[in-house]
């Protein structure tokens, strides 16, 4: 059992998400930083798609009610276990009654806590991810509240003194430009990729809202102004990574909790390899986008995938030989 003493701003159960139901209007959901979810799970001997806790911003406090192995990945929120510093990307043992406390991170937004064996939860539509909008998945379809308890599944994983790093992630976010016109002028599409954007504090699990950088106010005012329009389009399918341009001229990069269809013109699609990074961006942080070709996108995605595969195989080898 794991007791939620304090959930912080948003504490949810997430796995890799819900697939195969989009035609019924069901969102994908799932860990925003899927890289971090995978790494945390691998560190405690779980399948990489097992459900874990997504801690947003920090300020959470949890108590282990029975011994288990656990690992954190993603944002370093200066966590401690009964006062002992817990590093990101390392496997630890907890005793019954020990408390895991999260402070916060100045750099990143989301931290993942995986526990050996995972949680004893019934999947809904093929996933344990919490869909807070629709109200299903997770424990009761909502973010976790103080006082709630999560049952842990049994595990035969034996503690290993090991760690693992996330794949390298830096530089501009790559996207494939939208091939449909939607009535948007070419210069407007160019303006999007030439600007540096700032993540708005209004962002959430549904989407990353972008604003013009205030540092160069004159220029950026014209960027937002350039991008504003009065077009509305027929609803079309959207997915995590779709870049929407609402009439305000302030783009939204859709994230995992987004709806399945949308009525705003689209600017492009962030490549799969760069999606996990987006879930770590905090309000006020800067972000720039670089358009890539399908061939480049395929290479970048394969590179990212093979880094994750190498890590998974190396860890399996290490586990089998220990």
């Amino acid at each position: 059992m794991l007791t939620i003493i304090k959930p912080g701003p948003q504490l949810t159960i997430q796995d890799l998400g819900r697939f195969g139901q989009r035609h019924l209007g069901v969102s994908q959901c799932g860990a925003l930083d899927s890289d971090a979810l995978r790494v945390a799970n691998l560190l405690v001997g779980n399948n990489q798609d097992a459900a874990a806790l997504e801690i947003t911003l920090g300020m959470a406090k949890l108590r282990f009610e029975r011994p288990c192995c656990f690992a954190l990945s993603g944002a370093d929120m200066s966590a401690n276990l009964d006062g002992k510093r817990i590093d990101i990307g390392w496997c630890y043992q907890a005793e019954a009654g020990q408390t895991l406390t999260f402070a916060s991170s100045s750099l990143n937004l989301r931290c993942y806590l995986a526990i050996s064996g995972g949680f004893a939860l019934e999947p809904v539509l093929g996933s344990c991810s919490t869909d807070c909008m629709a109200g299903f998945g997770g424990l009761d379809g909502q973010a976790l509240q103080a006082g709630q308890q999560l049952a842990l599944a049994t595990s035969d994983f034996e503690w290993l003194n090991w760690g693992a790093k996330l794949p390298k992630r830096q530089g501009p976010v790559h996207y494939i430009a939208e091939p449909r016109e939607f009535g948007l002028a070419a210069k407007l599409k160019l303006a999007f990729s030439e600007a540096t954007w700032q993540v708005s504090a209004q962002s959430n699990r549904m989407g990353l809202r972008l604003q013009a950088e205030p540092s160069s106010a004159d220029l950026d005012e014209s960027i937002s102004h350039n991008l504003s329009h009065s077009l509305s389009i027929e609803s079309t399918a959207v997915a995590p990574g779709s870049i929407q341009l609402p009439p305000s001229g302030e783009p939204i990069v859709l994230l995992n909790d987004c709806q399945t269809t949308g009525g705003y013109p689209l600017l492009g699609q962030v490549i799969a390899a760069d999606l996990p990074r987006l879930g770590q961006l905090k309000g006020g942080q800067s972000i720039a986008f670089t358009a890539v070709t399908l061939t480049q996108a395929r290479q970048l995605n394969q590179q990212h995938q093979s880094e994750l595969n190498r890590l998974r195989l190396a860890m399996r080898y290490r586990r089998e030989s220990s």
Binding site: F19, G20, Q21, R22, H23, L24, G25, V26, S27, V124, L125, M133, A134, G135, F136, G137, I176, E178, P179, R180, E234, S235, T236, A237, A239, G241, Q259, T260, T261, G262, Q269, I271, A272, L294, A297, R298, N301
Partner: protein
């Protein structure tokens, strides 16, 4: 079978996502194109190559399990498009019982007024139509249903309500809809149904699928 149906456009959105876009086909009417898209969607959902197949207004988006080769998929889809057979579509028919007006349909009076009709006439018109589920979006099980009589077509509310109760039967523009869950919404509420539209514990979880047809009957 009609030979040589006009071909839709195809777009590659990313390595694993393709869009079939029928919006530019002027030789077929909108309803016909939507029927073809939804018939295609039903067949493609059964194929293991795709994780998700999402119908929307005049478009069909395919999410591949892995890399999708535009030319190969396009060829395959065009064949299926050409072989569209009106009779073989596996859509279901639903009858939705609705309590109209009063506390069940907060906007019935204003809708009647705006349309220059009596409340009774609005109900009679709404219950006389045969409707089609064009696609599902906005929230789980929320169907965009076409076939609304032109006499009932109004723009959405200027200010959306923050809470539309689950089961609300509503209209806006050329569509009608039933809210599967409590949610914000800007459509005109004319009635209420007890029918469950979405239950994640059921298979399939949604009552309506794209391409289904339905009638509203007064409870």
């Amino acid at each position: 079978m009609t030979s040589a149906l006009p071909a839709p456009h195809f777009y590659q959105i990313d390595n694993a996502t393709l869009v079939l876009d029928a919006s530019a086909i002027s030789a077929l009417d909108k309803a016909q194109k939507q029927r073809m898209i939804n018939a295609l969607a039903r067949q493609l959902l059964l194929q293991p190559d795709y994780v998700d197949v999402v119908s929307a207004d005049q478009t069909l988006t395919l999410y591949g399990r892995s890399h999708l080769e535009l030319e190969r998929v396009q060829h395959h889809l065009l064949l299926m498009w050409q072989q569209f057979d009106e009779d073989s579509s596996q859509s279901q028919f639903h009858e939705i019982k609705v309590q109209y007006g009063g506390k069940y349909g907060l906007d019935l009076a204003s809708v009647a007024k705006s349309c220059g009709l009596s409340e009774r006439e609005v109900i009679n018109i709404h219950t006389s139509g045969l409707y089609t589920v064009d696609f599902i979006g906005f929230q789980p099980g929320f169907a965009y249903i076409s076939g609304l009589d032109s006499r009932l077509q109004l723009p959405r509310l200027a200010t959306p309500r923050t809470l539309v109760p689950k089961g609300s039967v509503a209209i806006a523009a050329d569509k009608t809809a039933v809210y599967p869950a409590n949610s914000p919404g800007g459509w005109h509420i004319i009635g209420h149904t007890e029918q469950t539209l979405f239950d994640p514990s059921k298979q399939p979880p949604a009552l309506f699928a794209p391409g289904d047809t339905l009638r509203f009957v007064e409870a």
